[in-house]
């Protein structure tokens, strides 16, 4: 049995402008000790998936499909049951550490708080444990300080400490490198990797940066317009992409000379008929604008394209 399995997960937001199909028919499997990157551009639905797994979406979202964690469907759980999963079994590292930490509490209190609440450990032992973790993450002595007294990178470490102190089985990182300087990106990734391998957790890395995906994951799922268009081993997918969108995305990277993808990202309220990438696709065929391709599997490589059948 796999650790986490998404089966046909779809998320729709009802807004005054119409219903936004933020994710449609997303299916993927995460094994133990697995590292999976979900990449895609702004608004492709990658963060929505992370929030849907932990049921952290706003009220106007309607979620269908199923999220199976160790044989239990997280979407059918009561609020009480899911709150036991959050943080303890599946934890999330948020994007902006300076905003995700509470500015009026000391770092140490925030890191030890999950222990007090989830496990009911006495305060002194919890603080002791939190201190140990902070020391391991290179934040020796920062526990008595407040978030605004630390740099962005140190807040990032504290944030990772908060998420990993309960030794969750799955660690989800939502754009942990966004807005960081180049040198700090590397540090943050190394830190996440060390925490992950030390606790033996699985990782879901959500990012828009293909470099980050390459250095932090074994498997990758490329999303476009709410759908997974290509999924497989990270190196295979990024170095030898099959789907036209993945190819185009690689071409627009700095080392390939910034060749842009023509056209704009389509609206999620009214996505194109057939294959969602066909209006911007250089290899378009007749069938592409009529019928939606399915995610086809060949030797562990999944591609959603009519040319790859």
């Amino acid at each position: 049995m796999s650790l986490l399995e998404l089966r046909g997960l779809s998320v729709r937001f009802d807004t005054p402008a119409g219903s936004v199909r933020a994710a449609s028919d997303v299916s993927l499997v995460l094994e133990e000790h697995d590292t999976l990157a979900i990449v895609g551009e702004t608004g492709c639905g990658k963060s929505v998936i992370a929030n849907a797994i932990l049921r952290l979406l706003p009220e106007n979202a309607s979620v269908t499909g199923s999220v199976i964690y160790r044989g239990m469907d997280l979407l059918k759980m009561s609020e009480r049951e899911i709150s036991r999963i959050r943080g303890r079994e599946i934890a999330i590292v948020f994007q902006n550490p300076s905003a995700a930490l509470n500015p009026v509490h000391r770092i140490l209190d925030q890191v030890s708080e999950p222990l007090l609440i989830h496990l009911g450990i006495p305060k002194r032992r919890a603080v002791h444990e939190a201190e140990g973790l902070l020391r391991a993450l290179g934040l020796n002595g920062a526990g008595r300080l407040y978030p605004f007294q630390l740099s962005g990178g140190m807040n990032q470490r504290a944030m990772i400490a908060c998420s990993s102190i309960l030794r969750p089985k799955i660690l989800m990182a939502d754009e942990p490198t966004k807005g960081l300087d180049q040198s700090m990106v590397k540090n943050a990734l190394e830190l996440i990797e060390s925490v992950r391998s030390e606790s033996g957790a699985s990782l879901i890395m959500i990012t828009h940066d293909l470099d980050v995906a390459l250095s932090s994951s074994d498997r990758i799922a490329v999303m476009y317009c709410g759908e997974i268009v290509e999924m497989g081993r990270t190196e295979d997918v990024l170095c030898n992409p099959d789907h036209p969108y993945t190819k185009a995305l690689r071409e627009s990277m700095p080392d390939r000379g910034f060749r842009p993808i023509p056209g704009n990202t389509p609206s999620m309220i009214d996505p194109p008929e057939g294959c969602r990438f066909h209006p911007r696709c250089p290899f378009k065929m007749k069938i592409c604008s009529r019928e939606r391709p399915s995610l086809n599997n060949s030797c562990g490589r999944y591609v959603r394209c009519w040319r790859c059948i």
Partner: protein
């Protein structure tokens, strides 16, 4: 035409009781010429944005001068200052916040034409042309900034600056908050516009690859001091050796 920062320094005073002086820029001299791109490279906190704001006339240097076509910015009055104001434009990092959230795109563009005293019946044509240059259709005119994507907003901000027909354009990390594919679109668009109109760019970035792609010459800042100045071919940065590159 040229825009030059001559021995510019900027000092901030900090603290309530003990006045500490923090030096953001030390004796920086850079010159932007028409038709060329000067890349301004440096890690965050190195004073890049402060220099850009001083060059755009949004901030004043503590010492040194900003010189536009041989005239000191402080000595400009009336007509000459208007000339400077129109010729030197700036595009900001965060496209969403560089447009007023409560004005439609159309209004944001039209008010620039009103400022230039262009009669109402000619405005529609000019706006259509400006949108074509940045690759947008007219349907965006009735939208609000938050209804558009980051890339589209940045194109609007660019179109708005171009309406004034500037000679020098200061670009403060215009693609830092955009996706890679959109970044590629904007960078190519900027090159295309420069080729056609011969505008001089000051391009600020902390990304070496972007720097190499857009600039003719590079100026590298560290802690407010210039550590390298010269053509891009000769430029090599310490950060570059450690920079990640996608192995292929």
């Amino acid at each position: 035409m040229y825009l030059r920062a001559q021995n510019v320094s900027k000092v901030y005073q900090e603290g309530l009781l003990f006045r500490r002086r923090r030096c953001v820029l030390r004796d920086v001299t850079v010159e932007i010429e028409e038709g060329h791109t000067l890349g301004l490279f440096g890690p965050s906190g190195s004073g890049k944005t402060t220099l850009a704001r001083i060059l755009a006339g949004l901030d004043h240097p503590s010492s040194g001068a900003v010189i536009f076509n041989g005239i000191d910015l402080r000595e400009m009055r009336g007509h000459v200052f208007t000339e400077f104001r129109r010729s030197v434009q700036m595009v900001f990092q965060d496209p969403e916040s560089s447009l007023n959230p409560i004005k439609t795109i159309g209004r944001s563009l039209r008010e620039v034409l009103d400022l230039l005293r262009i009669p109402g019946d000619e405005q529609a044509g000019i706006i259509k042309e400006a949108l074509e240059v940045v690759g947008l259709s007219e349907e965006v005119l009735c939208r609000f900034p938050r209804q558009l994507s980051g890339g589209q907003n940045q194109r609007i901000a660019l179109a708005r600056a171009l309406l004034l027909n500037p000679r020098i354009l200061i670009l403060d990390e215009p693609t830092a908050s955009l996706d890679v594919s959109v970044q590629a679109q904007i960078l190519n668009l900027l090159k295309e516009i420069q080729r056609r109109r011969g505008i001089g760019y000051l391009y600020i970035s902390h990304h070496p690859a972007v720097m190499r792609f857009v600039s003719n010459s590079v100026c590298e800042l560290h802690n407010g001091m210039v550590t390298f100045r010269g053509p891009v071919e000769k430029w090599e940065t310490g950060a570059e050796a450690g920079a990640r590159s996608t192995s292929t």
